[in-house]
């Protein structure tokens, strides 16, 4: 026996919380056929019966012609789900019942869930749910999305309803040709239904202390930026213990595995896979997943309390120029710390197109690892004030790069006709429900760990094959052969084979860049070690500086720095983007764009800089 239900509700109705709690780990994410709208399907089992749950895209109504609304309407009409669970916010009953008025016209089996009953109660609001159920002719369930006990009641009711479903017995609001008259009919319908069910006394609205500060034009923005930076630090703290354990793996495993396998006379090509590549891949993926855990905890908190909505209010004007919602400020600021954090922070965006566009733009933001490389490399060729200029130049190009990305991909991901100014509710400040936040964060982190491990291992293996050399000498690696063969081409873009190899290793991990430079200019270690066993290598930047400045020109160094900064982010950030967007096609598209953009930029910087040196 199976059953199928669909969840329908406005944004902020608590729909995703209910969906996540109902389905737990049994979720599948895809796209609606031919649309850039995410499709979430999951399932749960109750009393031996399996129920599939479709989380319909959130929208305020169903009459508009946005993709979300068309998909939702078509899906309900198709009858693919036997029951629609309509969610409304009990604390804003009149406004959120609008969705039920829209649904009423579709005349399909339904039940109503009044979410956030606790908030409504705190507001002194009384709702006669029995009277409401009687009027509507469908069951009405008072609910608290964060109360685990309520889910049993919900599941039980769903099971009962699927056996004997109800349809609204009340007549649907009359349809009018004019949008204005039509909406009025729907709100009149709602008022009529709520009469004698609940009473709302018109009262003076007083902003909470939180809002009075958060909505100040300048102070609010400063606080937003400070809070996101703090959030980054907290994510790092959450990450540290897990990542610390993860980073012990390569150090602990390297020597014993190496000794054991070498003792068995295994070919070094295989030995290094087990002693270096696999432990390192594991360590990388653990670090990545634990950072994702931290980001999900802090963003879950910020989202639930209502902070993200305030940030959206503050930055909407600025970010709308990039085709983004104001909310994108949070993942973007996160990107200055780590692109992985930025990519998974885009969970706060409302739809897939916005999420993908925000991730693409976050890639333009140099992460902390890049900021740790640039001054070092720059310092080898330039004086301190010239290094400052390099950094300013990079920062300036961040803005240019973001604008280019939004121009190139924005038209498809956030079509102009869907870019409308902000019309958004600011949900009241809620207390965070830690249990729920932690549960969801751990689930997401584990999920990304499982799914990214394969991608990361595969790409690591490719890089391993390229960088392997039996004696550790770079000149005996495939990378050297490829690099020197195509040097005439890369030279045109401003990079010789050495810097080009380092540029490639940056796409693998930014931490590998200095080690790779050390390998190609000094032969102090192998590229393989730089990429897979950074613990085992150390770079003397003074010596490296001397070697580099004797081999390459300042113009080439400058071109290299720009290319490395504005190329694709590291493999971990790439695979996070892939896993978050669920779209290999778009991840590859954006990655190719970034690589081309980096090469063109490198070419321009090199040829201009050559004029002055």
């Amino acid at each position: 026996m199976t059953g199928s239900i669909a969840l329908l509700g406005q944004p902020n109705s608590g729909k995703s919380t209910i969906y996540n709690n109902l389905t737990g780990a049994r979720q599948h994410v895809g796209n609606w056929a031919g649309k850039t709208v995410e499709k979430n399907e999951g399932s749960f089992t109750f009393n031996g019966v399996k129920y599939t749950v479709t989380d319909l895209p959130g929208s305020y109504g169903l009459s508009g012609n946005s993709d979300e609304e068309i998909i939702t309407t078509d899906f309900i009409k198709s009858g693919k789900s036997e029951l629609t669970v309509v969610l409304v916010d009990a604390s804003q009953l009149e406004r959120s019942m609008f969705m039920l008025a829209e649904f009423a016209r579709l005349d399909k089996p339904a039940m109503l869930v009044l979410n956030m009953m606790d908030v409504a109660k705190d507001m002194g609001k009384n709702i006669d749910t029995d009277a409401l159920a009687k009027k509507l002719g469908i069951p009405v369930l008072p609910f608290n999305a964060t109360d685990t006990k309520d889910y049993d009641k919900l599941k039980k009711l769903i099971a009962e309803e699927l056996k004997k479903p109800h349809r609204l017995s009340v007549k649907a609001p009359e349809g009018k040709a004019d949008v204005k008259a039509d909406s009025k009919a729907k709100f009149d319908w709602v008022s009529e239904i709520l009469e004698n069910v609940t009473r709302t006394k018109a009262s003076d609205y007083k902003m909470s202390k939180f809002d009075r500060v958060m909505t100040r034009p300048i102070l609010g923005k400063v606080i937003c930026i400070a809070v996101v930076l703090l959030a980054f630090m907290v994510s790092m703290i959450v990450m540290l213990p897990f990542a610390g354990v993860g980073q012990m793996i390569p150090t602990l495993l390297h020597d014993p595995v190496d000794k054991l396998l070498t003792g068995w006379n295994v070919h070094p090509w295989i030995v290094n896979i087990f002693s270096m590549m696999i432990p390192n891949t594991l360590s990388f993926t653990i670090s990545m997943a634990s950072f994702v855990l931290g980001v999900n905890i802090v963003f879950g908190f910020l989202e639930e309390t209502g902070f993200i909505a305030r940030a959206a209010y503050q930055f909407d004007g600025l970010l709308s120029k990039l085709g983004l919602q104001g909310k994108a400020i949070c993942p973007m600021l996160m990107g200055f710390g780590c692109t992985i954090g930025g990519a998974c922070g885009t969970r706060v965006m409302d739809n897939w197109g916005q999420r993908m566009l925000a991730m693409s733009i976050v890639w333009s933001i140099p992460c902390a690892s890049i900021w740790s490389i640039i001054p070092v490399v720059s310092g080898m060729f330039f004086t301190w004030w010239q290094t400052m200029l390099v950094c300013v130049g990079i920062l300036a190009y961040v803005i240019v790069s973001m604008i280019i990305v939004s121009k190139v991909f924005g038209r498809k991901l956030a079509p102009i006709e869907t870019r409308s100014g902000m019309i958004m509710e600011l949900p009241p400040y809620h207390k965070a429900h830690w249990k729920h936040i932690l549960k969801e964060a751990f689930f997401k982190a584990w999920d990304i760990f499982k799914r990214a491990l394969g991608t990361v291992t595969l790409v690591s293996l490719i890089f391993y094959v390229l960088s392997f050399s039996r004696d550790g000498n770079v000149n005996n690696s495939l990378l050297y052969r490829v690099g020197t063969t195509i040097e005439p081409v890369t030279k045109f873009f401003g990079m010789g084979w050495q810097t080009f190899v380092a540029f490639l290793s940056g796409a693998f991990a930014k931490e590998a860049v200095l080690g790779t430079l050390n390998a190609v200019f000094m032969g102090g270690n192998s590229v393989m070690e730089a990429a897979f066993f950074s613990q085992g290598t150390s770079t003397d930047t003074a010596l490296l500086g001397t070697a580099m400045s004797q081999t390459i020109s300042a113009a080439e160094a400058l071109a290299f720095m720009f290319a490395t900064t504005f190329s694709v982010p590291c493999l971990m950030a790439l695979s996070t983007t892939y896993k978050e967007s669920h779209s290999l096609k778009w991840t590859v598209k954006v990655a190719l764009f970034y690589i081309c953009n980096a090469l063109v930029l490198s070419c321009i910087v090199y040829h201009i800089a050559s004029l002055f040196t």
């Binding site: 929208s59 305020y60 109504g61 009459s63 508009g64 012609n65 604390s91 804003q92 009953l93 009149e94 406004r95 609008f98 829209e102 949008v179 204005k180 909406s183 009025k184 709100f187 709302t200 018109a202 003076d204 609205y205 902003m207 809002d211 909505t215 034009p217 959206a312 209010y313 503050q314 909407d316 004007g317 709308s320 006709e417 409308s420 100014g421 902000m422 019309i423 958004m424 509710e425 600011l426 949900p427 009241p428």
Partner: protein, 73 residues
């Protein structure tokens, strides 16, 4: 007057909303319909207008807020 001309703490009523169907659908589905009582909460230069309406705090960008005629009550 237009919503953008209202001042903080003003209580009012929506007189008329005008725009294309796409806009009308968006604005009415969030609850802004003719005759609805509201309170302006914040109206700062270059910032979205904040209003309280149907028990909800709503942020409205300025360009769209200009299309809404209101009266004080």
């Amino acid at each position: 007057m237009r919503l953008t001309d209202s001042t903080a703490d003003m209580h009012g009523r929506i007189l008329s909303v005008s725009g294309d169907d796409h806009f009308m659908n968006r604005i009415t589905s969030i609850g802004i319909t003719e005759g609805t009582a509201f309170q302006t909460v914040r109206n700062d230069r270059k910032m979205p207008v904040l209003i309280y309406l149907r028990e909800t705090l709503i942020a409205l960008n300025r360009a769209d807020a200009e299309k809404i005629e209101v009266e004080a009550v």
